[in-house]
Amino acid sequence: MVPLSFAGHNFLADPQGAMFWPAEKALLVADLHLEKASWFARVGQFLPPYDSQQTLAALTELVDRTAPERLYCLGDSFHDRFGCDRLPDAARAMLLALTGRLDWVWILGNHDPGFADHCGGRLVEEAHVRGLTLRHEADPRDPTPEISGHYHPKLRLQLRGKHVSRRCYVASEAKLILPAFGSLTGGLDAHHPEIRSKVGGQAAALVPVADRLLRFPIAA
C-alpha cells in the first residue's frame, strides 16, 4: 500500500482498489458486485461461479493485513438485490466471518435497492466521517469533500506499443473516486467525460505501484 492524501487526510492505497484510513482504522472499498456471474447465468451465460469467493478472499487478505476496526463498502456491493440469496456456501461463510469480526458498513448503491439480508453489517445511505462524505455516486452539487465509487475508473494508456489498462483512483480537490474492488468488474476510462464532469477540474488518475503512487493528470 502506498500513501495517498486527500482533503487533508492521509490514506494508504492498494493497487486492487482498497484504501486504508489509519486515523480511523477503517478500510474503504467500492463496487464489490458480488454474485455478478450468477446474475448472468439466468440468461444462459455461465461465467465461473467463483467471483464472490475471489473478491471476498482478497478482502479477507486485506483485513488480515491492515487489521481495521471498521469497513465501508461504498455501494453496489451485490450485483443485484437477490445476490445475497445466491451466495455459494463458501463465499457466504467468508462474508459472515468478515462482518462478524469488525464494524461493517454497507453504503447503498444503485444496484442495491431493497437489499435486505446482508449477511451482517449495517446499512446506511451515506456516511459522514471527519468532515468527509462517503457515498456511492459522486454528487457534483455537494461541496463537502467526498469519497465515492460507482464508476469503476481505469487508466488506459498506450506505452511503447503496449496497451496498459489498470484500475485507478480519480482525485480532484474535493472528490475521490475509488476503483471497483470486485473481481468480475469492467471499467470506465478515467478520461471519460462522465467522470470528468463529476470530479471537476484539476483531476488526476492515481495508480499505486510497488513503492509509490503515480499521478496522471486528466484534462478537464
Partner: protein, 765 residues
Amino acid sequence: MAATGAGKTLAGFLPTICDLAETPAEGLHTLYISPLKALAVDVQRNLLTPIEEMGLPIRVEVRSGDTPSDRKARQRARPPQVLLTTPESLSLLLSYPDSFTMFAGVRNIVIDEIHAFARDKRGDLLGLSLARLQAIAPAMRRVGLSATVSDPDAYRHWLAPDADETLVDLVQGDPGAEPHLSILLPEDRIPWSGHSGRYAAKQVMKLIEQHKTSLVFCNTRGLAELIFQDLWRVNEQSLPIGVHHGSLALEARRKVEAAMADGRLRALVCTSSLDLGIDWGNVELVLQMGAPKGSSRLLQRIGRANHRLDEPSEGTIVPGNRFEYLEARAALDAVDAGELDPEIFRPGTLDTLAQHILACACAAPFEQGELLREIRSAAPYAGLSDEVYERVLQYIATGGYALRAYDKFRRLVEDSPGHWRITKPAVALQHRMNAGIIVDNPMMDVRFKNGRMLGRVEEGFASTLSVGDHIFFAGLSLEIERFKDSDIVVRASKHEARLVTYGGQRMSMTTHLADRVRAFLASSAEWHRFPDDVREWLEVQERRSRLPQPDELLVETFPFEGRHYMVMYSFEGWNAHQSLGMLITKRMEKAGLKPLGYVANDYAIAIYGLEPIDDPAPLLSPDILEGEFVEWVEQSMLLKRAFREVAVIGGLVERQHPGKRKTGKQVSFSTDLIYDVLRKYEPEHLLMKAAWEDARARMTELGRLARLVERAADQMVHVPADRVTPMAVPLMVVIGREALPGGGDAEDSLLIEAEALAQEAMRLD
C-alpha cells in the same frame, strides 16, 4: 484431387446436373460447401452459365452470413435444388427443427477446397454436420475437392463416414504443366534485413508493366498496405492497381474482385484472403513478397496464375533478406521435387463439439447414446470418450462447474435418463446469435464522414491512434478526424502515414523448409547456385565462426558495443523463438547475467545483456520445459488468446456483434479475467482443457520448442567469437526496433516512465 484450374468444381457438380436434367425434381438435391463466402458467389456465377445455356430448370442459391434474412427464410420454406453455403451457415440450418424435412432428400454434398479447412475448427464443425446430414439423408454421397496435398489418404479418412477411407474413391487429376518459378534478385545487393521485399518496388512495378495482370501476395495485411503504397509511388504509367485483404470492407473487396474478374486491374496486392481459388483466368504472374514460409502455400499461390491447366503458371519470389533468399531457394527446390508440406490432423476440438451438440439440441430433443454414435462417425471425433462427452453435455447444460451453482438456470435438461432437450426457446435464439467458428479480435470500423465504411482495424491498434494521426489503409493515406463509438472517422490525405498492424501469431516457416535451409548451410557444394553476396556471406561466416550441420544447434556468443550477445540458430520459427527468448531471459535474470532483451526471426534468436555468457548449455537445459515453461504458457497471451477463442466458440461468453454494441445493451466480459478465475478455482474445467489442447495442437510452435530444447542437450555447439558474425547481422540490425517484453514489472516501469515524461512536459517553470 487436382491442381488449381483443372475444373474440379464443375466436375463435382456434373452428377447433380445430369440427375436433375434426367429427372427434374423440387427440393434440396445438392449442397456445396466452401470455406469462403466469396468462393460460393463465384461458383454460383460459373455454375449458372452452363445451367442456363442448357436451359435446365435448376435453381442455384447462395446462403451465407451476408444473405438477407427474407431470402434466408424463403430458402428454408422453399429450398433451391442446389445450395451453396459455408460450414457455419450449414450448422445454423441444422439447428432448426425443420432441418429434418429440408435435408431429407439431399443426394450430394460437395466440399470444395477441403485442404483449406479440414484440419481446423471449421473442419471439425463441418465433419460433425456431415454426420448429422448423413443421419437425416442416409443416401447422401460425399464429394471432397482438394488441391494437391502431400497425404491424400488422410483427407479420404476425414471425408469418410466412420473414418473408413476405403469408402472414398480417390480421383487424381492431371498434374498440369510445371510452373515457371524464379527469384527476383535486386539490382544491387540482397539486403541484410527486412522481410517484405519492399526494396524491390521499382523492379516489381516493371514486372507488372510487362505482364497483363499480376497478383502480388504479401504475408500480412499491414505489409499489403505498405507494398501497395510503395508500388503506387513508382507507378509512373499510372496503371490501375488495387489492394485486397480480409479487413477491408466487404463492398470494397467485392468491387476489387469484380474489377479483377473483368480484367480492369493490372495488379492486385493481396494476402492469404486470396489463397483460395476464385477463378480469374487472366492472371499472368504471381509475385510473392517476402519468404513463402511453405512449399504448399507457395504452390497454391502460384497456381492462381494462369488458371488453365495446359499452360505453366509463372511465379516470382521477392526475398526480403539473405536468410529469406535461402528459404525462397528451398521452396523452389521443394516445388521442383514435388515435395509438399506435411499436413497434421489433430483430434476434434471440444468447444466446436459443444457448439454442435447445442445446435442439435435446438433442432430436436436427442438421445445421448444415439447422438454419441453419430458424433463418433465424424473422423475428428472417432476417439471421443464417454467421459469427455458427458462433460461436454454437463458444460452445455450448466457450465460444467464442480460447484454446480447453476442447476436452476440449466440450458439443457434430461426428461428421462439420457433424453435431453433445451429448457426454453430462448436457448435456441441465443445459440443462433452466437454460433460461429471465427473469433476476431475486437474491431473498430474505419469510415469516411459520409458513413462509407473502408474496413476494420483492431481495437488494440486503434487505441494507439489519436486525432490528427495518419494511417495507410484501404490503399489510401487517411487522417483521423475523430472517434465515435466504435467508428474511426477519417478523411483522405496525402501525408506520410503509419502502418496498420494486426495482432495474432505470425506465420512461421514450415519445418520442412527449415530442414532444407539447414541443408544448404551445411553443404558448400550448393552455394554456387546462390548470388555472389549470399555466397560470400556464408563463406565469411564459415571462416569466422561456423555453419551449423543439419543436426547441430549453433550458439554464438560475442561482445558488441559494450553488450554481450548470444545468438542461437535454431530454425524453429518466429513464434517458438519468441517464447524461448522470454524463458531464457528469465533464466539469465536468475543467474545474474543481467539480460536487456532479445530479438528473433524465423531462423535465429539473439539475446543480449550486460554480462558475458560463458556457458550457454544450462540456459537451455530440458527442465526449462517443465516448471518454467508451463508456468509461462499459463500466463502467456498464447493461452489467454486460445481461451478467448474457446470461450466464444463454446458459448461461455456472448459474441460481440459489431452493430449491436452501440446500443450499449451487450455486456462484454474480459475472457482474461474469466481465465484467471478458472485457473485459480477450477483448472480442470472443460474449457481450460480445450484451451490447452488448442495451444498445444494447433500452435505447432510448442512442439517445435520442445524439439529445439531436446536437441540442445546433445547437439549444441558453442562458438565464442571476438565480434559480431555475418549470420548474426540480420538479427542485430533489428535490435532496438522491437518493443520491450511484457510482464508486470516491465509494465510498472513503463508506467513510471510515462508519468515522469508527463511531469517533465507539464512543468511550468
